[in-house]
């Protein structure tokens, strides 16, 4: 990496790292440290081919998503977020405050698999259509759809407190917007 590339890399990181970090932290289930590690790894990869990249942000994001669900990460479970045991006496119910529900949801998101969480982040945080998610993750639209469905079902199992607000307005097969094929 020559001096000019380093300057351009620094400028990119300075302007975009905060936004990228948000995504990385979400992909890591809310763990800031793991998110920073994830982003750092993605940026290191991007730095290696900086002069060949046309759209750095899209490139780094793609690495973030794929890195998170890659076999390498699955092979090293120690790098996965481990969570404290769920509290024994969580009963939910009417007195659950909004803060409590959000915390419960965070805990549940953190306990999904990296793949499940990545799909939810792409669908519900980045608001991407299924076709784009499939392209980014290198899988079929059907896989995206089934993973989304299974992830939401898993959240309900991990956080029974959500049952109270868990009256889907639509049947589960309609979770996704209409798919657009290019």
């Amino acid at each position: 990496m020559d001096a000019e590339a380093q300057d351009s890399f620094r400028e990119f990181v300075e302007h975009r790292s905060s936004a990228l970090l948000k995504t990385a932290v979400l992909l890591s289930g809310g763990d800031r440290h793991a998110g920073e590690d994830l982003l750092q790894n993605a940026l290191i990869k991007a730095a290696g081919r900086w002069h060949r990249i046309d759209e750095p942000e899209a490139y780094v994001r793609q690495i973030l998503y794929r890195q998170q669900i890659s076999r390498w990460r699955l092979k090293w479970p120690r790098r996965e977020l481990s969570v404290a045991e769920p509290p024994e006496d969580r009963t939910g119910g009417d007195d659950s405050s909004a803060a409590e529900v959000r915390l419960v949801m965070r805990g549940a998101l953190a306990r999904l698999t990296a793949r499940q969480r990545t799909v939810l982040v792409l669908r519900y945080f980045e608001d991407l259509p299924e076709a784009d998610v499939a392209r980014i993750l290198g899988c079929s639209v059907g896989t995206v759809r089934s993973t989304t469905h299974r992830s939401l079902a898993r959240l309900r199992v991990l956080a029974p407190e959500l049952a109270a607000l868990n009256t889907p307005s639509r049947p589960s097969r309609d979770y996704a917007p209409v798919e657009v094929r290019p």
Partner: protein
């Protein structure tokens, strides 16, 4: 709201709370890249030399990635921090050790020795002048009381220059100090006698090994001092036998009242006074707090830090894991547990600094270190060397003083 909407809201909330990446992130990435490349070349060279090719997994080193978290270096041989300990906006702005100094009649006084963080060098420096130090938000100014207690004045110390900018007289005898969270007020606890007197007690075997216990209370009241107008109002309070000899006041989360420790049926009990000398009931959010868990209420006001509720035995060799309770401040109901034996200070709405044990649960004594803990994660980040609270209090049992930068 259905689950998809809640997922969407939760993700956005979580993203919205993230502080920006720290300055210098790019440089850190580039430095890490250089380091890894060096290591890769070294691995390739080693593999070439090997006669039998074996598959060697080179574990990814856990990289820095924690620019907003600064653990401290320690001096050789003991655990006193040398360089600044911080996480996010929370910094250990000072720390102190305590030793009992014998006085004339065989009794003693417990005296603190402070080490203050110099913001210009990022290092702690011993400052023997003070018996009590409170650090203002911003960690650039401290309120100090000199060695002789109760004191007739307190000063505002510039932590960078080490010089007192201004002295203020307190005729009623100052013994302890605390800043309000907004930094505009001080509460000064006043005493008629030295609050740290230790009375010599003979032990059962005839006093071969004398011990000291706390003296009785002489607390006379408290002063609320306005740092903008430099006016203070002192409020006398009736003596109460349920008050320990040093029972300093500190501001509640909303700065609208002050609280202090009382001794009662349960550990950790507190009493509350408003800013006009009147005893009041606990504010709604502080009803369930404990005096001995200093972290108290999260910055967003939604979570209360409470005490140790669980310890997990990890066998004879590994340190046990402690868990403290995070509760709904209004209902006192436990929301979750977080790692840490004693929660000391919130870093943000999900992270705290805590003491955590470094020794196995059984037959290994108790030693601890400062760690950063995160709600929802079992992982801890070590911030300090190991402290041995049972051994030589003067040298090793240091206590941190936190401030927000």
């Amino acid at each position: 709201m259905n689950v998809e909407e809640l997922v969407r809201d939760s993700l956005r909330d979580l993203a919205g709370e993230q502080e920006p990446a720290a300055p210098g992130f790019a440089d850190r990435v580039l430095a890490e890249r250089r380091r890894r490349r060096t290591r890769t070349f070294a691995s390739v060279a080693a593999a070439t030399a090997a006669v039998v090719a074996v598959s060697v997994a080179v574990p990814q080193l856990v990289s820095g990635g924690r620019d907003d978290v600064r653990p401290s270096g320690v001096t050789g041989g003991h655990s006193l921090p040398v360089t600044a300990i911080s996480a996010g906006r929370t910094v250990v702005a000072a720390y102190y050790t305590t030793a009992t100094r014998k006085t004339g009649k065989g009794d003693g006084v417990a005296e603190r020795t402070y080490r203050l963080l110099d913001p210009s060098t990022g290092r702690y420096k011993k400052d023997n002048r003070w018996s009590y130090v409170a650090v203002a938000p911003g960690a650039k100014t401290a309120a100090v009381i000199e060695r002789t207690l109760p004191a007739s004045r307190f000063g505002l110390l510039d932590l960078t220059t080490g010089k007192v900018k201004q002295w203020f007289d307190v005729r009623t005898g100052a013994g302890g100090l605390a800043f309000s969270h907004d930094g505009t007020k001080l509460v000064i606890t006043t005493y008629d006698e030295h609050p740290d007197v230790r009375v010599r007690v003979e032990n059962g075997s005839g006093g071969v090994d004398p011990a000291f216990m706390e003296g009785g209370t002489s607390r006379s009241g408290y002063m609320i001092f306005d740092l903008e107008s430099h006016n203070g109002s002192w409020w006398q309070i009736k003596p109460n036998r349920d008050v320990p000899s040093r029972a300093d006041f500190a501001f509640t989360d909303d700065d609208k009242a002050v609280y202090a420790q009382v001794v009662g049926g349960n550990d950790g009990m507190e009493e509350f006074y408003n800013l006009s000398g009147k005893k009041i009931t606990a504010p709604a959010k502080e009803k369930y707090l404990r005096w001995d868990v200093p972290a108290r209420i999260s910055p967003n006001g939604e979570l209360a830090a409470l005490g140790l509720t669980k310890e997990v035995n990890m066998g004879k060799k590994l340190p046990g894991k402690s868990y403290s309770s995070i509760r709904n401040p209004l209902t006192g109901k436990e929301i979750t547990k977080v790692r840490g034996g004693q929660l000391l200070a919130w870093v943000d709405d999900h992270r705290l600094i805590a003491w955590e044990r470094t020794t196995p649960l059984k037959n290994a004594g108790y030693k601890d270190h400062l760690v950063l803990v995160t709600i929802g994660s079992d992982k801890v980040v070590v911030l300090s060397g190991v402290r041995d609270p049972d051994d030589g209090p003067q040298r090793l049992a240091w206590e941190p003083v936190f401030a927000e930068r």
